[in-house]
């Protein structure tokens, strides 16, 4: 039954390109993590090895999400959402505190971050809802999905996890624009303003005084930069800028090697890469991301049903949002919110979740082809 509609051909050209891009970005990520942390002692496995382990787990998740029919997966959306909400509640009371926020549930030596998985589950919920529910009137198009999203969003913001919360809203907004809005013109305008919001934000943000920014940041996320005074943002900008055209070479990034740049292996992995590989490396990396999203858009465009298309749109908007905001914040365009760079930042939950999402995307693509059998 499971295999009923499975594409039984081997990997086609598209699949190979898709997988190749994922592997390339993952590889760059592991390399950068290795570069920052290679001389870091400490108990247990080194970070890069752990990341490889997460990637292997992610590959399993990728396969699972690929093999199961996405319609069946989508049917699990509400139960999964219920479980995630419980986990998010558990985090608030029992979670492990790190950097002032409670985001993790310890499992053995590792920590599990439900808010990451909540993003994928939200995509499932949204896609499932829109593909099933009759969509007449604002209530069904906007308010009900909003109400569905709200408990998750509030629990995440309570941790506080501003980054995941923003991703949550981004997914909701993207879905809304693609199918929730009746007027195409309105949708286009809103979509563009959403995309350009960060840049508008930069202008607005840039016009504020430091203390005003600090007050605002302290209001939304009191714990991110306790040393304060924009230290992270400045060190990150220095790292990227110091890369110049061709970079300082592998292990050559003094900003990250000497720990001036905090979180070099997680949220600021892009800065590490930019310092070591320069503008050339950065352009290549951006092209890889664009290519991956381009292929994903291809999948969305050719999805055989609305559920598939909606799943694809959700995943794409989440990916886009994370990539743009992460690079934007490391480059000093936006305030620093904790959003990891997909496929590159160190972190088990995020890596597994992203790979599972990509598996789901490919699932959508392969079911499309299965129609012809």
């Amino acid at each position: 039954m499971i295999d009923r509609m499975m594409d039984r051909r081997g990997l086609d050209n598209f699949d190979l390109r898709y997988l190749g891009l994922i592997v390339a970005i993952l590889g760059i990520g592991v390399l950068s993590i290795y570069s920052v942390t290679h001389d870091q002692g400490g108990p247990g496995l080194p970070f890069f090895a752990k990341q490889v382990f997460w990637i292997l787990l992610g590959a399993v998740a990728f396969l699972i999400m690929l093999v199961w029919d996405y319609h069946r997966i989508a049917r699990l959306a509400y139960p999964a959402y219920a479980i995630i909400l419980i986990l998010l509640a558990v985090v608030l009371f029992e979670g492990k505190t790190s950097r002032g926020a409670q985001r993790w549930i310890p499992i053995g030596p590792f920590a599990f971050q439900p808010s990451e998985f909540a993003k994928l589950v939200l995509i499932l919920v949204m896609a499932h809802y829109y593909s099933k529910a009759p969509r007449v009137g604002w209530l069904q198009r906007v308010v009900i999905p909003g109400a569905l999203m709200l408990p998750g969003l509030l629990l995440i913001l309570k941790q506080p996890d501003l980054g995941s919360g923003l991703s949550f809203m981004a997914v909701y907004a993207a879905m809304l624009l693609m199918v929730g809005m009746r007027s195409q013109a309105l949708g286009v305008i809103l979509l563009f303003s959403l995309m350009l919001f960060p840049f508008a934000w930069e202008v607005m943000w840039g016009s504020l005084h430091d203390y005003q920014r600090q007050r605002i940041m302290a209001f939304v996320d009191p714990n991110y930069d306790p040393g304060g005074k924009g230290y992270h943002a400045l060190q990150s900008r220095i790292a990227i800028g110091a890369g110049e055209l061709t970079g300082k070479g592998l292990y050559g990034g003094t900003q990250s090697q000497l720990k001036f740049l905090p979180e070099g292996h997680t949220d600021f992995v892009f800065s590490v890469f930019a310092e070591e590989w320069g503008f050339v490396g950065v352009l290549i990396l951006l092209l890889l991301f664009v290519a991956l999203i381009w292929l994903s858009l291809e999948i969305a465009t050719r999805a055989k049903d609305e559920l598939g298309a909606l799943l694809a749109v959700g995943i794409i908007s989440m990916l886009c949002f994370c990539v743009v905001v992460n690079i934007g914040m490391t480059a000093g365009m936006f305030p620093i919110v904790g959003i990891p760079l997909p496929l590159m930042s160190y972190g088990g939950s995020a890596t597994i979740m992203t790979m599972a999402s990509l598996g789901l995307l490919l699932n959508v693509k392969r079911r499309r082809l299965s129609l012809f059998y």
């Binding site: 693609m178 800028g241 110049e244 310092e275 609305e306």
Partner: protein, 624 residues
């Protein structure tokens, strides 16, 4: 297709809208690329500079100061390793928090740290906050290093004076260069935290002893922890000094003064070498070379005994009867007197309506120059002074180096006062009174001298009119080449006084010890010549000496040289408020001379004059 949605009609619409996503994606990525191009290409060099500054720190490598030895190679001052605490400002995230932490960990005064951190200086150089940390303090800091970004512990050499307070006024002490000093050209190559000599030889020869600081660039991580050294410019140790001081004689001289205030200067008149220069009370330069709190400073500066005052070169006292040595030469040279002319002393000298008393109320009878010196007859010298006039007296006094710098290699030497008509007009804006000449003639009144000047004066007499500039350093050893450079002695202009005059004076001074007021200086091992002096500090003196409060008692002087036949040592002793020179100062001079003769006779080179003829016995004259 069981799961096909019931609004498939909207699928087409959705997929058309995806075009918007594509365009948006390209637009946003283009903006990101533009931003990165701006950061990495347009402003890349700027950020690269910032990253270089981020990772490298310059650390000053303080040089070891040159060592200080005495004339026989006994070590007087060396350096011991000690821990210094530096703070690199760039690595400090929160200054107030750091100050708080330092005060909690090792009890540093927050105000002091705040002041040190805010001292302006080269931007890249770490600030020195404290030196001479104890091992415990250094360990505490090291173990909290992760919580103290920017804090560094450096091992540096610290000045150590092996003899404690011995020769403290000669050696001086060191301290951090002050903000005012840093603005002067001679300190141009120094920086905040540099150690410089602040007193004594340490100060006078600072540029030689100081050495050259090195510098190293270290790569640091974000917590200011040293990762590796990039460039090293080694420091150069300062050059060593060989003093003319004989540490053993110095110790004897200091012990002779003991708890009393005063000064003893012993020098070799044939070279000007200062063999001992004691000043009491003394201080411990090890304490002063540490960083003192304001309170400790006030205590030292306000100490009534004024231990920081080098009484040998900075103490100005009326010379009393020791002045008569110069007066005798002036009397003969100015033809005021001949060796045989006599004056009748009946115990007083009538001038105008006032009678100037001799110390011996019954008088000395007829006295010639020789007898006047031996018995320190005041009336004879009143007469000389009166006949000669103050300005002639002053010109001879200057010739003998009074009222002039001796040129000793110590900072802030004082010159005393040699009064003259011109001087009084200039300083007091009053005409000279004839009666004042009479007081001046016996070394009272306005006349003041330093013990060093008197040692130099008696040395000049001993050395037949040839004066050498008193010196404290005889050789410098270059640390880099290992070569020892002997410094030349510096003869001054020869005294314009006839040989016969000086010979007569020397004989008379020998008589002072053998038959006159200086009997307490008689030695069984060496012939000593000298002159007693008692400097009045208060005009109102009644009753026996022991009933007078100590601070109003007279200063005791004795100036001497030995051996009489071929002088190798000249000594000046000044004991504050100790009464008569003959009883209080002469025995001290004798001890110093005997010690020196014994010390030098042991070394074969100097055994020539040690065992001369025994001294004939004589009357112990307690008065002058």
């Amino acid at each position: 297709m069981a799961t096909a949605g019931f609004h498939d009609s909207e699928l087409g619409e959705l997929q058309r809208r995806l075009v918007v996503l594509r365009v948006g994606l390209l637009l946003v990525v283009a903006l990101l690329a533009l931003r990165l191009w701006h950061l990495q290409i347009r402003e890349g060099p700027y950020y690269r500079d910032l990253s270089e500054n981020n990772r490298t720190r310059s650390v000053i490598l303080e040089p070891a100061r040159g060592l200080i030895y005495d004339r026989n190679g006994i070590l007087l001052a060396n350096n011991v390793p000690s821990f210094s605490l530096y703070v690199a400002l760039e690595d400090v995230k929160d200054r107030e928090e750091l100050i708080e932490q330092l005060s909690q960990l090792i009890g540093l005064d927050p105000e002091l740290v705040r002041k040190k951190l805010s001292v302006r200086g080269a931007k890249q150089l770490p600030r020195k906050i404290k030196d001479r940390l104890t091992l415990k303090e250094a360990t505490l800091i090291e173990s909290h290093r992760l919580d103290l970004p920017g804090v560094m512990i450096q091992v540096e050499s610290q000045r150590n004076y092996l003899g404690g307070a011995t020769a403290s006024h000669v050696l001086g002490y060191v301290g951090e260069v002050s903000a005012e000093q840093l603005e002067k050209p001679e300190f141009a190559e120094l920086h905040q935290g540099s150690i410089v000599g602040q007193y004594g030889v340490e100060k006078f020869f600072d540029q030689i002893v100081r050495g050259m600081a090195g510098q190293k660039s270290i790569e640091v991580d974000a917590l200011g922890h040293e990762k590796r050294t990039v460039v090293v410019d080694q420091p150069h140790a300062g050059d060593d000094l060989y003093l003319t001081i004989d540490a053993r004689l110095q110790k004897v001289a200091e012990d002779l003064l003991g708890q009393e205030s005063g000064a003893i200067v012993a020098l070799d008149p044939t070279k000007g070498d200062i063999l001992a220069m004691a000043s009491r009370p003394a201080f411990d330069p090890n304490v002063l070379s540490r960083e003192l709190t304001a309170k400790q400073w006030v205590e030292i500066v306000q100490d009534e005994g004024r231990p920081l005052n080098n009484r040998a070169s900075q103490g100005q006292y009326p010379p009393g009867s020791t002045f008569k040595v110069m007066m005798a030469a002036a009397a003969l040279e100015s033809k005021t007197m001949t060796p045989s002319s006599t004056v009748f002393c009946n115990g007083g000298y009538q001038f105008g309506r006032r009678v100037y008393h001799d110390w011996k109320a019954s008088g000395h009878g007829y006295v010639d120059l020789r007898k006047a010196l031996i018995h320190s007859c005041d009336v004879y010298f009143y007469t000389v002074g009166q006949r000669m006039g103050i300005d002639t007296m002053a010109s001879y006094a200057h010739q003998f180096g009074l009222g002039e710098e001796t040129g000793v290699e110590l900072p802030s030497e004082r010159i005393g006062t040699v009064p003259s008509t011109e001087w009084k007009q200039r300083v007091k804006h009053e005409p000279w009174l004839p009666g004042e000449t009479i007081s001046a003639a016996i070394g009272q009144g306005y006349v003041t001298v330093t013990p060093l000047q008197m040692a130099s004066l008696i040395g000049t007499v001993a050395n037949d009119g040839v004066t050498y500039r008193p010196r404290l350093v005889q050789a410098i050893m270059d640390r880099t080449t290992g070569q020892r450079q002997e410094l030349p002695t510096v003869p001054k202009a020869k005294l314009a006084v006839k040989h016969e005059t000086l010979k007569l004076i020397r004989e008379a001074l020998s008589g002072v010890v053998t038959e006159g007021t200086g009997g307490r200086a008689r030695s069984s091992i060496v012939t000593i010549a000298g002159k007693t002096g008692t400097a009045q500090t208060s005009a109102l003196r009644t009753g026996p000496e022991k009933d007078i409060p100590k601070k109003f008692r007279d200063h005791a002087w004795f100036v001497a040289f030995a051996p009489v036949e071929n002088p190798t040592i000249a000594v000046a002793v000044l004991a504050e408020h100790m009464g008569h020179g003959g009883s209080a100062a002469a025995p001290l001079a004798k001890e110093v001379i005997e010690t020196y003769i014994k010390l030098t006779s042991k070394s074969p080179k100097r055994s020539d004059t040690a065992s001369s003829s025994p001294v004939p016995g004589g009357r112990a004259g307690d008065y002058d």
